[in-house]
Assembly symmetry: C2
């Protein structure tokens, strides 16, 4: 007997046929005595259609965030009602609960709410009656009782947080991929599905460009120590379990995966005086403009003149705004010039195992060198190493590194 939270996204419940399919699948996996909570998103394009409808009233409906939440929360309310009905037609007692009824309390930052508390008394009560409980994802209510949506990836966060509050045994996230891979399978043919990965590794993978799970939901899993099972909607194969630590059998590899990110651009501020406060000047100006800076390298250009170069990366989408900000600061600092490079990309390895294993960085650089790939910038964290390379060489770089750490079998 277990308490399991299962989350299905909008594409899994896009039609009434698919909703029936989800209900049947859940019942086929339910063991006698299991308590099951299902978190669902709005059906398919519902949210987009509601936004479209609102643009009939005003060009920018998101100006009115509270009313957008009133509007958008209807999307999940429709899918939970239909899914609960589907269970009932199959003979399984079930009940639908909005985020509010399920006790999901949020702050009042409409359209970008954050869960502040969960009071799942009603969920427990309905489970105790033998119901499958169908909960609206992506939504909760603020202290006034007004509906609030959670923003991007919100349904995953709802599911994991609810699993935590319910002290569930596991939280299963059903998606269109069947787990977390050692590299993007579209780039690396031999990419392997990981049986397990730690919360920290998953967060680092996400930060470095691997987009299976929204970071907030992984953080929520870590906070509540709830294992998150990422698996496919379309097969019954096990996927990848995100948890605090590995079980024995899956400790074979020193790294967990190779991540990559093409949304990168490099900015170099050349020939600035190497005096205290220079870095602060540049990066506080960027922070004021809400531009995130990723890799940073400072290198001495001319020791005698005490002149330095400051090189860093931003996301490619932020580049135009970043250039504007940096040009102004560079003028003020009498820099020699500002260079911009857009044809770059970042390749990273992630793994808690690299802590206290100094050979790993060397193996990564060696693999790139053997493949004739030049490294532009290197940055490291406790559980990752990233290299900036030419964007045209990215796929080659990912494959070379993957081959080094996940040698082909046979």
């Amino acid at each position: 007997m277990a308490l399991i939270v299962k989350k299905f996204g909008g594409s899994s419940v896009a039609t009434t046929e698919k909703i029936m399919h989800v209900a049947k699948r859940i019942l086929s996996e339910k063991k006698p005595g299991d308590q099951v909570v299902v978190v669902v998103s709005a059906m398919g394009d519902t949210t987009d259609n509601l936004i479209e409808l609102a643009t009939g009233i005003t060009k920018d409906p998101y100006e009115y965030t509270r009313e957008m939440d009133m509007l958008l929360t209807t999307g999940e309310q429709v899918s939970i009602a239909l899914l609960a009905m589907a269970f009932k037609t199959l003979g399984q007692p079930a009940i639908s609960l909005t985020g509010k009824l399920a006790g999901m309390e949020t702050n009042d930052v409409h359209t970008k709410g954050r869960i502040v508390d969960i009071k799942p008394d009603r969920v427990h009560a309905e489970l105790a009656k033998g119901n499958v409980v169908v909960v609206a994802g992506f939504q909760g209510c603020d202290a006034q009782g007004d509906p609030v949506t959670l923003g991007r990836g919100g349904s995953d966060t709802s599911a994991v947080a609810l699993a935590g509050a319910l002290k569930a045994d596991t939280c299963e996230i059903f998606t269109d991929v069947d787990g977390v891979y050692s590299a993007d399978p579209r780039v690396v043919k031999g990419a392997r599905k990981m049986k397990e990965i730690t919360y920290n590794e998953m967060l680092e993978m996400a930060r470095l460009g691997a987009g299976v799970m929204q970071p907030r939901s992984v953080e929520m899993g870590e906070y509540f120590k709830i294992p998150i099972h990422v698996r496919s909607t379309f097969t019954t194969e096990p996927g990848t379990i995100i948890r605090e630590d590995y079980t024995m059998e899956d400790k074979d590899f020193v790294i967990r995966g190779v991540a990559h990110d093409k949304d990168v651009a490099k900015i170099a501020v050349l020939g600035i005086p190497n005096t205290p406060g220079i870095a602060h000047e540049i990066f506080s100006a960027l922070a004021d403009a809400h531009i995130d800076v990723d890799m940073i390298v400072q290198s001495i250009r001319n020791v005698e003149k005490n002149v330095t170069d400051m090189v860093f990366t931003v996301s490619a989408t932020d580049l135009p705004r970043a250039k504007e900000v940096v040009d102004k600061v560079a003028d003020k600092l009498s820099a020699v010039g500002v260079l911009v490079e857009e044809d770059v990309a970042k390749v990273s390895i992630v793994g808690a195992g690299m802590l206290g294993n100094p050979g790993i960085a060397a193996r990564m650089f060696g693999a790139l060198s053997k493949a004739g790939i030049n490294i532009d910038i290197i940055s490291t964290s406790e559980i990752s190493i990233s290299c900036l390379v030419k964007r045209t060489q990215l796929n080659e770089a990912v494959n070379a590194i993957h081959d080094e750490f996940f040698p082909k079998k046979g």
Copy 2:
């Protein structure tokens, strides 16, 4: 300065253009300092479309009434969000409230809920902030907080009940007719729009077939003593005010209106022994089958044999079931026979003024007689007189009576 509740039905908010129109119209009539609450239904065909969607899960979704309410309450939630946005785009602060947020508490009879209490604290608070408050009609929540819909005519009931709880000055019901007429304008060319009508007269008109307002909402108005102004969505002309008593100027006519009903069938049980309990036997059998009986006449067929006929009317839709029930009882009572007539209709006059004015019945019968129309059955209440006539003569009957009591001008 007044507190006004205005109710717009689904056809008035069927598109975003119409929603903008409703918002503009309300603002054009709003005087400085007025507090306005707007109760709206779901947009156009939304409710039907949601029911259709549910039939993708199960043939008879109304088997699952709680889940139907979870589904259907989204309809009004969409329209309140959009209407509140519409006000805001016009520069008018506004906020949308679901039935639950507006404090509409119901029993837990899903899809046919009844309002048990209203706690409009939030509505008052939002009005005090200068908001137009947009409330979802047709819905409330039960003691558990679960959404409940009110059943047919529910939005009118929501509006009038909310007006009562808010101690509003008036409740305006916007519909596709522009008021209550002295007769159906499709039948009587010279039908006059009444300036005023009492709750009791309106209830009697509704009971006798005039379908402008659902009886429950009129009862609610009477209970709270809230004047209900029935008026047109399409014009700014005043309509008809339903209130406790007339103001002076509108006391001209002794009757308020002529109502008619084609959904009538006559059943006659012939030649039954005139002994105590006979009426009970027949009508309790019908009551057990949930069949309403309207006009009843008992007449002596044969004094010497003490044999009687029992004649009554039921709604035409109930006739087949009623016939079945009556046939059984007639057998038991050894009746001579059961006759059924379907080509009948009922014409009625309604008016509190007829109390203590015995000449009115005579004038009604006289008008019918002059027009060569035979009266089959007569029944009376405190404020109405009804005659059963041949269905083919109904329009003629309505016009003859109307001409008698509302003589053509000039």
